[in-house]
Amino acid sequence: MVFYLTLILTCQLAGEVIVKAAGMPLPGPVLGMVILFTGLMLRGLPEGLARVGDALLGNLSLLFVPAGVGVMLHAGLLGRDWLPIGAALVVSTLLTVAVTGLVMARLNRGREDGQ
């Protein structure tokens, strides 16, 4: 388990270093994800890595809590901008669902149907 955790952290570290060194407009862990994905495509998914990954992702929502508590730092800003923020979230979320669903349904017609 420690081996696969080390592997994941190494991918993240490599991602951070490359992003910083190359000045890429990308968070380090995202490049780490691409590096790990490339490795999986080349070598397959070891059982142990699957277990560590599922443990991390199975509790993904817990990991948002410390950042979410940061809302107390922005009470003033949220109070001032509550209307633009609320409207932006509702309008944009509904629009994104509709647009993505319609484009995919049109392009994918007949390919996934009946499966």
Binding site: M41, G53, P66, V69, G70, P84
Partner: protein, 239 residues
């Protein structure tokens, strides 16, 4: 409080243990309420945990910095969790290959629609610059969205809150919008929910239909990648 109790409190308040335990306990309570409430998306466990922790900190007069000393151990795991998103992506690779073009076009369209409409509406209603940058990656899974907001000069902690609210909204209202738009294909429904409302939407889609769940998880990962690549480029043009 007796002298002895006070000494213990003063000692504990300096230790990361208290705030780490508080975070885990609040999440346990949130998860319990969510399960008891038949997994109603309104009873989001993250939202409940955040409310509980913030109440506790305000009651004891604890600053966010002091809290974060302990909570950083949980927060740190967001990075490795982002890397681990490669695993569900790898598991769906056969499906991705089969409808690669449709997937790519839909997710890139969704990614652009999400950022542009959020920034556009907020801007039209007079939001501040901090808010505009922080709201742009709101449909992306939290660890990546926070990274994007940070690299663009927004407020990562504000983005995290906006991401969570977006997830709840998408999980609640997304299925209704899709039915209204006449989208019946499970792959397309899942893809739309995952693109718009990341992990919280994906969790919801998984409960409804297996294919929808798989495509939602896939969309979450690919939208994270698409937005992380596209948004900084667009921001350079606009800002």
């Amino acid at each position: 409080m007796s002298e002895g109790m006070r000494d213990i409190w003063v000692y504990l308040a300096r230790e990361p243990l208290v705030h780490l335990t508080l975070t885990l306990m609040a999440f346990q309570v949130g998860s319990w309420i969510y399960r008891r409430g038949a997994m109603n998306p309104l009873l989001n466990p993250v939202l409940i945990a955040v409310v509980l922790v913030v109440s506790g900190l305000l009651l004891t007069g604890t600053s966010y910095d002091a809290y974060f000393e302990g909570a950083q151990f949980v927060h740190f795991l967001l990075g490795p969790a982002t890397v681990a998103l490669a695993i569900p992506l790898y598991r769906q690779v056969a499906r991705v290959r089969r409808s690669a073009l449709a997937l790519g076009v839909s997710i890139v369209t969704g990614s652009l629609a999400a950022s542009a409409s959020a920034v556009g509406v907020a801007w039209a209603l007079g939001a501040s610059r901090d808010t505009l940058i922080s709201v742009a990656p709101k449909s992306v899974t939290a660890p990546v969205a926070m990274g994007i907001a940070e690299s663009l000069g927004g407020l990562p902690s504000l983005t995290a809150v906006l991401v969570i609210l977006t997830g709840i909204l998408g999980a609640m209202l997304g299925p209704w919008v899709l039915t209204l738009a006449g989208v019946r294909d499970w792959a397309a429904r899942g893809l739309a929910i995952g693109t718009a409302s990341h992990g919280i939407g994906t969790a919801r889609a998984l409960q409804v239909n297996e294919v929808a769940g798989a495509f939602a998880g896939l969309a979450m990962g690919l939208n994270a990648l698409a937005t992380a690549l596209l948004l900084p480029l667009l921001a350079r043009l606009v800002l």
